[in-house]
């Protein structure tokens, strides 16, 4: 029941908001439900830390036959970060999203995304995972197109078509895997694979299709094209939500199936993950340095940072997977906050073109500091969460003797710093380029709630840096569970 509520909560909101017509009440309800969701996932986290793992069989059908929901430490951690990001972005968008979009169901569809994300994190059945992906995707398609501006429509057509093709890869992979293994429950598949022994190569065609599907969702090289083509088109608050939640679900699923199935053929799959991750890091960061639009720079950095998570997973040591988990969580916070600040700049100036912008620090030093915190956390400067994320990745890489890829990661960090400094100089520091822009007066729009949401997020980034040791320890425990798939299997199948 405790896990089922994670799906029931957003669903209740969806149904209630269909009945209620008053926008103000809908907004209030959205914030209440997001808060309750956060409280609930914290409870799940506490339960998981004492009971190791929560397993629920829907409709009381025993495990390999019915649909299983399962939460281990890794899922619980991801759930908490996602719920936190979701609450703050909802609070932020209650002010930044215009009234018309709110009337037309902005919160409705963002709760659809929450339902999909929660479901994906606790799905114990691979077809069920596909269904939650689709729930999440349909909501995100609509959210991206909501408003119907020309550039939004363009962005959503690209986003829609490429993601649909991604879903088909995933679905075809599930079909082939079912044909080979004869079950859909992830624990059951894992146990049958481990019993099959050397025959693993026969499963690779199906697993390759599934990994391609996840890489499209997770925006890994060479499947990332949809992301920079579309993320700069919707309102900034929507991009912040997408950046925080959507690609990370792809990475979560990749980590999950790597530790359950793929590690049997480590020699093959580690190479795949290293190449995809390494090239994502390099290509993403180089492409970002050529952009002159704030949200495009940040969008390309999503790709480059997904690469870090992939290579940390590829090390496949306890420290490596712990680093991947920590880095994912750090990235969800920092990246979202960078987009939240971009949203404020957009609200103030109506553009995000670096060539036109300037002198925003003068306008509001506090927002400048908030950007500084999130940007330099992304670049990996010491007391912030990004430093510890990168440190853990590099340490795991050097310890497991993957020196070359660790060097690449260090080098990429340097270029990330370059991009962030570029944004800082162009948007916050330099004087506006022309006299005309300098003397233009702008209508002051209220942004109190936006500021509050972003400040809390920045505090969370700093706190994650300060408490990096205890969070890192938790991630290590989670990684230990992931490295011992027998534990997952016995919890799910034997309901121990």
């Amino acid at each position: 029941m405790i896990l089922f509520t994670l799906i029931l909560l957003p669903f209740t909101y969806l149904m209630l908001s269909l009945l209620i017509t008053n926008t103000q009440v809908k907004k209030l309800l959205a914030l209440i439900f997001a808060t309750v969701n956060l409280a609930w996932v914290v409870m799940v986290l506490v339960r998981v830390s004492t009971e190791e793992m929560l397993v629920v069989n829907m409709g009381s059908w025993p495990a390999p036959y019915g649909i299983t929901l399962a939460a281990d430490r890794f899922s619980a951690f991801m759930l908490v970060i996602a719920a936190f990001v979701f609450l703050l972005v909802s609070y932020y968008s209650s002010q930044s999203i215009d009234r018309e979009r709110r009337n037309n169901g902005h919160f409705f569809y963002s709760f659809g995304i929450l339902m999909g994300v929660n479901g994906s994190f606790i799905a114990g059945d691979i077809f069920n995972l596909y269904v939650w992906f689709e729930v999440m995707l349909i909501s995100s398609f609509i959210l991206m197109g909501l408003g119907g501006e020309r550039k939004q429509l363009e962005g959503s057509i690209k986003y829609l078509i490429l993601n649909l093709i991604g879903s088909m890869f995933f679905l075809a992979g599930i079909g082939l895997l079912y044909g080979k293994v004869g079950t859909l429950n992830m624990a059951d598949i894992a146990s049958r694979i481990s019993l099959a022994g050397d025959n693993f190569a026969a499963l690779n065609p199906a697993l390759i299709l599934i990994v391609v599907g996840f890489s499209i969702k997770g925006a890994l090289f060479p499947f990332f094209f949809w992301l920079p083509a579309s993320y700069h088109t919707p309102p900034p608050a929507v991009t912040a939500l997408f950046a925080g939640l959507l690609t990370k679900v792809g990475i979560y699923s990749l980590i999950r199936i790597f530790t359950l199935f793929l590690f049997h053929d480590y020699a093959f799959w580690s190479n795949v993950v290293f190449w995809m991750g390494g090239l994502s890091m390099v290509v993403g960061v180089i492409a970002a340095s050529a952009q002159m639009e704030l949200r495009k720079i940040l969008a390309f950095h999503i790709i480059s940072q997904s690469g870090y998570m992939a290579i940390a997973l590829g090390f496949f040591t306890e420290a490596g997977i712990a680093a991947a988990i920590f880095f994912t969580a750090h990235n969800m916070l920092s990246k979202t906050n960078a987009f939240l600040v971009a949203g404020w700049v957009h609200r103030e100036r109506g553009t995000l073109n670096l060539k036109i912008l300037g002198d925003m620090f003068q306008r509001s030093p506090l927002w400048g500091v908030l950007f500084f915190i999130s940007a330099f956390s992304l670049a990996g400067l010491p007391p912030l969460s990004g430093f510890f994320g990168k440190f853990m990745v590099l340490k795991a890489g050097v310890e497991s003797r993957h020196i070359l890829i660790s060097m690449v990661a260090l080098f990429v960090g340097l270029i990330t710093l370059f991009s962030m400094v570029k944004i800082w100089l162009e948007v916050f520091w330099k004087l506006p380029p022309s006299e005309k822009v300098r003397t233009m007066t702008y209508k002051v729009k209220p942004s109190g709630r936006m500021l509050a949401a972003s400040t809390i997020m920045a505090c969370a980034i700093i706190a994650m840096g300060l408490f990096a040791n205890s969070i890192g320890n938790y991630c290590t425990l989670a990684a230990r569970d992931l490295l011992n798939p027998q534990k997952y299997i016995s919890y799910v199948l034997e309901n121990k």
Binding site: R150, L164, I165
Partner: protein, 117 residues
């Protein structure tokens, strides 16, 4: 029969990819429909196609004879996938309609206003 369906799936994928690579948005959308149906058929085929009865154990029997029943799970999966596909199709056509309304074109080469100059 299996070979026949396999070849047919290949054909569908081929046509789908060909259509997805066209410039007209309508053709791309039709290509997506073909790809999604080909994928549904893959699930259908991978469950193994046996000409058999319903997977229901007769009253009084201990277990069903596996040779005489067909596997219900792929069919359930396809049903779900078709429903999801239907929703997607409806949305993608609505989006296409709206896009045509706003821009008056369905040439994909016109879709580059948001790209980097």
């Amino acid at each position: 029969m299996e070979y026949l369906i396999a070849i047919f799936i290949g054909l569908l994928y081929g046509c789908g990819v060909f259509l997805v690579l066209r410039r007209s948005l309508v053709k791309v959308i039709l290509g997506i429909f073909l790809l999604s149906n080909a994928t549904n058929l893959i699930i259908f085929l991978s469950g193994g196609i046996t000409r058999g009865g319903t997977p229901i154990i007769e009253e009084g029997a201990e277990a069903a004879d596996i040779a005489t029943i067909s596997d219900p799970i792929p069919q359930a999966l396809i049903l779900t996938a078709i429903v999801i596909g239907l929703g997607m199709s409806a949305y993608i056509l609505a989006l296409k309609y709206r896009y045509f309304d706003v821009t008056g074109t369905h040439d994909l080469d016109q879709l580059k206003n948001t790209d980097q100059k």
